[in-house]
Symmetry: C2
Subunit: 364 residues, 2 copies
């Protein structure tokens, strides 16, 4: 049987640096665990714009649609700030999400024991935190039409449209309930149904999916503003949080920062299953392209490596191998290996991006 294919889009900023360590880990699984992948590389974001004048070339889009999974590094950087909206690095990522129909974005917010002190929150509030945010990723205000800047009277008006169909809400709700069953069996859905009709429909459909097919999962609803408060006040009350594209963008970043482990957090963006049962899938770290430390060997590769662990679990049904990789990373941290972002007040000498890769390979 042919090896499964991985398309690597390292992107901009620290993307290529952290991805170099992921590639080493992939090679290790091929050599040592008989899990070989056919790996291809291509460009996305500013890197694609520099070469092709577009943040995602059509050929790359086609390869992404064919790959068994896509691993993405990061996109964007100050160099591209003045570009027109239509060719900004972010558009490449948004096109991938949309055309691969990756409607379910899983963002774990997990606090690593060894790192609980890094959080700006009190240790007892975040130690052991393990939330999964399920963010709708292909609709809502990110993609709704009409949109744009139009002339009206003698001024301009900026317009975007929040739009959700019942089926869009239905399918992402199902993915949240499925996940919850494999975790704490609790879903909290967040919207602004007190202010937005799209939120009313959201709440109604989530409730219906629950009552019809997942009555065993505990479901609650919360207004998104209160959700932000509760995340800060007592994040451990949550198991799975289900929310839309825009609220998910903000709430998942808020939750990620609570953990103090931003350089550690992976994400998976999943679509519908193919004929072979594998979902269309893209994996990427939660952190951005970090232009301030690019090229200095300071970046933490763990979030990106954990994104590959998520790929093992969600795309290739290799939960045990994913757990092996995650355990290696926990060990390395417990042993005290720290990249610059993980240096606390005690000080010490940070290790480089590739040192961290070495340590993880050694632990494997």
């Amino acid at each position: 049987m042919a090896n499964p294919t991985l398309l690597i889009l390292a992107g901009d900023g620290i993307g290529p640096e952290v991805m170099a360590q992921v590639t080493r880990v992939i090679d290790w699984f091929g050599a040592k665990r008989d899990l070989a992948f056919d790996v291809e590389h291509d460009l996305v974001g500013g890197a694609a714009y520099d070469k092709h004048g577009t943040p995602l070339h059509d050929d790359t889009m086609a390869r992404a649609l064919e790959a068994d999974a896509v691993l993405l590094g990061a996109v964007g950087g100050p160099k591209y700030d003045e570009l027109d909206f239509s060719v900004k690095p972010e558009r490449g990522l948004l096109r991938l999400r949309k055309e691969m129909d990756l409607f379910s974005n899983l963002r774990p917010a997990q606090c690593f024991d060894a790192l609980a002190d890094f959080s700006s929150l009190k240790k007892d509030i975040v130690a052991g935190l393990d939330i999964m945010i399920v963010r709708e990723l292909t609709s809502g205000v990110y993609f709704g039409e009409p949109r744009g800047i139009i002339e009206e009277g003698n001024e301009r008006v900026g317009i975007n449209t929040q739009r959700y169909t019942e089926s869009e809400i239905d399918r992402v709700a199902r993915s949240a309930f499925e996940l919850a069953r494999r975790r704490g069996n609790k879903v909290c859905s967040m919207e602004k149904a007190n202010v937005m009709e799209s939120g009313i429909l959201w709440r109604e459909v989530v409730q219906r999916v629950h009552d019809t097919d997942y009555p065993d999962v505990e479901l609650s609803h919360m207004y998104a503003d209160n959700g932000a408060m509760q995340l800060v006040r007592a994040p451990k009350q949550f198991d799975v949080i289900l929310t839309d594209n825009l609220f998910g963008d903000i709430l998942s970043d808020c939750a990620a920062m609570l953990t103090g482990s931003l350089g550690m957090l992976p994400s998976a963006s999943l679509g519908a299953p193919n004929a072979d049962g594998r979902p269309k899938a893209l994996y990427e770290p939660v952190h951005g392209s970090a232009p301030d430390i690019t090229g200095q060997g300071k970046a933490n590769p763990i979030a990106c490596i954990l994104s590959f662990a998520m790929a093992l679990r969600y795309s290739f049904d290799q939960g045990d191998e994913a757990a092996r990789l995650e355990a290696a990373i926990e060990k390395v941290l417990a042993d005290g290996a720290r990249t610059a972002d993980l240096m606390g007040e005690e000080g010490g000498t940070p290790i480089s991006t590739s040192d961290m890769g070495d340590a993880i390979l050694a632990a494997l």
Copy 2:
């Protein structure tokens, strides 16, 4: 000269209880500081719905437009959860904001020294925190058309519209820059210009207002998701945060919760100045109607009393009297008076809503 008029809309839940203490404070200023107000009372939210079948009667709307300032308690409660969207308690509040044209919502997120331990954040991250969030309040996705739930094919679609005109952005930006000049002289504007065209226009207009009329104020721009992260990571980096209606809803609640002083935070919603130089204005606590403790004498009246202090400052040009009231509250807290929401782990006996009113009057 006639006394200035105050319209009190106590609303639902703990609204009437906390407002009863505000009324005592208002009376004190009339008796002791020669600052008499003509106070009227009316209904809003669920209380108005119960009596009139609408969360804001037209007569009340007319009185609000005529009053020199409106003080609002809180709206909403589980009793009204099943009501139709058009008559939900929140619609009363939203109608007031819209018809009074209260485009600039000031939400201080301030950490009171005596209460820094209450925050879920580490003390050094929040002690001394003093941010002002300026939230646009009369436009954006809260009010944009088209909106609703429509049929399309064989399913329903929930639609809301994010819409900002140049002049709407211009005027709220000015209010943020004006405020910044009287504080730390720094504004950080937040949107999602990387994803939304309305955010692009927002950024452009804010920058133009700055360059034209407020070049002395330090201006930065941040994506709203990063804004949520930075609020959690290092909130003291901010002075004034300027943002739109929906982002403001979420980010201001997040910021409020950081302080650990939610029961302490007031807000002001201001419109354009009238002929007499006074802006149309509504003042209300940031906290909600707290149905779980309603009628038990447990509610903390301080947020609502501080909202009256904001009224003294922003509507009646009585900054010294506002400071007097604020100082009385700080003294009471420093002396150890605590309502139930302010009880820490050390324990102790909380005082009642009216005891807190007594203590504040005594300190005055």
